[in-house]
Amino acid sequence: MDAALLLNQLFNGISVASIYLLAALGLALSFGLMRVINMAHGEMLMLGGYLAYLTLIWVPGAPGILLAIPVAFVGAAAMGALIQLSLIRRLMNRPLDTLLATWGVSLILQQAARDIFGAIGVEVRAPDWLNDSLQFGAVVIPSARLFIILVTILVLGALALLIRRTRIGLTVRAVNQDRMMAGATGIDAGRVDLVVFALGTGIAGLAGVVLALLGPVTPSVGQSYIVPAFLVVIMGGLGSVLGTTVAALLLGLFSALAQTVVDVSAAQMLLLLFVIIFIQVRPQGVISIRSRALDE
C-alpha cells in the first residue's frame, strides 16, 4: 500500500468518523444523562434530510442550504422533544423497554417517510463547489468530505461552549454527575433531560442535512449510520463529549483502514470484533467519570 492511498484512506476515515460523531453525539449526551438509548435516533437523520429536501424546493440554491440547517435542526429537535415527553419520560429507569418502544417509533417514522416521499429516495442537488475536489499531489480530497469535517468541528465547538460556558451547560453537567443532588439544589432535572434530548436529536437533524448533500435521502438512510453510532456510544464512555469524539475517530479510522484490506461487509464484522476487543481492555469506555458508585 503506497503512502497516497493510505493518506486518502486516513482522510476518508476522518470524514466517516465525522458522520458517526454527528449521529452519536445526541445519543451519547442523553445516554449519559438518562441511561436510555433512542432507537429512533437514526430517523432524526432521515427527518433532517427530508427537511433539507423540502427547504430546497422552497428556496433553491445556496441560501436554501443555509436555511435548511436551522430548519432541520429545529424540526428534528421538535420531534425529539415530542418523543421525550410522550414516551421516554414515562419509561424512566427502564432502559431496555425504552429501546423497544423507541424502535416502534423508528418503524412508524420509516414507514411514514416511505408513504410520503416514496421508497426510492429523493435527491438534494448539492451546489457545484461541493462536488469539486482539492488535489495535493496524489492525495485527492473531495470538497464534500471537507465540508462534513468542517460542520462537525463547528458543531463540536458550539456544543463545548454550550456545556462549558453557559448556565444550561452547568445544569447539564450537574445532572450528569448526580441527578439527585442536582435536583436537591433546585435544578429541574426533567427539563434538563428534555433540553439535552431535543438538542441531541437536533444535531442528528443537522447531520441529516449534511448526508442529503452527499447522497439521496431514503427512508432507511438513518439505519445505515445508526449501528456504528451505537458502537461509538458504547466505546465513548458515559456522556463524555471528548470520549465520544475519540471513539468516533477510532471507529471511523479503523473502518476506513480495514476497507483497504477487506471488503465492506468483512470490514463491518471486523469493526464489531474491534469493539468487543476494545471492551476487554476498557469496558468503561474511552473516558469515564471516576466515581465510587457501584451500580451505574
Partner: protein
Amino acid sequence: MSDAVTSQVPAADGDRAWRRRAMALLPWLLLALGAAAPFYLSGYNLSLLGRFMAFGILAMGIVLIWGHGGILSLGQGVFFGIGAYAMAMHMKLAAAGDGQLPDFMMWSGREALPWWWEPFASPVFAILAVFLLPALLAALFSWLVFYRRVSGVYFALITQALALAFATLLISRQDVTGGFNGLTNFPSLFGLSLADQTVRDGLYWTTLALAALGYAGLRWLLATRFGNLLRAARDAENRIRFLGYNPVPFKVVAFAIAGMLAGVGGALFTMHAGNISPALVGVVPSIEMVIWAAVGGRYSLAGALVAAVALNILRDSVSSAFPELWLYLIGLVFILTVTLLPNGVAGLARRVSRR
C-alpha cells in the same frame, strides 16, 4: 357479621383453586389442539403453523434471557440464522447429490465446495450443528461481553451490531451463502420427499414435540436454583457477587440455551418454509423476535410461544392484504405493549384471574 366473613373466604379460595387448576390444564389443552392440527388444517396452513411454532421455540429462549435474565438480545436472528443455514446447507448438498455442487454455486461460477460446507453433507453432523453451533457461538460471544461486566443497554446494542454484520456478511458472500436470495429449493429431507404430506405431518409433529420439550425443559430449569440465581442476577447483580456467586456463568449458560433454541427454531423454520435468506436474520427480524416475547409476556414461556404464533398469523393476514399497514401496526404494538402492558398478555391474564 363474622359468619358472613368466614363463609365467604372458603368460597373465594375454592374459586381460586379451581381457576389455578384450569390454568394448569391450559398447556395440555393447547398441546392437544396443536397435536390434532394436521386433521383440521390444510397442508398450506399446517406448514405456516409449523413455521410460526418454530418462531415460538425461539421466543421461549427470549423469555429465558430477557424475562428471567434481564439480558435483552437484539441479535437472536443470528443464532436462528446459524441453525437455519446449517440445516439448509445439508439439504442443499443432499439435493445436489454426491460430489456435485449446489446449483447457486455453479451459477456464481464456483469450481469447488468450500471446506466448511463439506461436513454438512452428513445428516448427523448437520443436526448436531443445528443444536451446538448456535449454542457455542452464543456462549463465546456473551462470555466475552459479560465477563467484562458489560451488560444492559450496551449488550443489546452489541448484539444488534452482530445481527447487522451477520446479515451483511451473508449477502456479500453470494457464491457460498446464496447471497440476498439465501438458500432455497429443498426437495427432500433425510431422504424423505418433502412433497409428501405424511412427511410434512411428521415434520409438524416433530416441531410440536420440540416446542413442548423446550417448554417443559425451560419450565423445569427456571424452577431450579439456576433459575433463582438468574433472576437474582437480573435484579441485583452486585448483591449476587457479594454473596459469593459469580453471575457470569449463569448468564452465559442462559444465553447459550437461548441461542440453541433459536438455532433449532431456525432449522425447523427452514424445513417448513423451504428457504432461508438474510432478510429473516438481520436487524429488523431480530428485534421483531423480542416483541413476540414482549406481547406474550416476558416472564411467560407459554405466552411467548402463543404470541409468536398469533402475531405471525396476524402478520401473514395483514401484510398480504396491506403490506404498508403492518409496519405501522408492529410499531404501535412495540410502543403500546412496553408502555401499557409490560408483562404482556400473560401478565394481563394473570391479573384478571387473581381478581
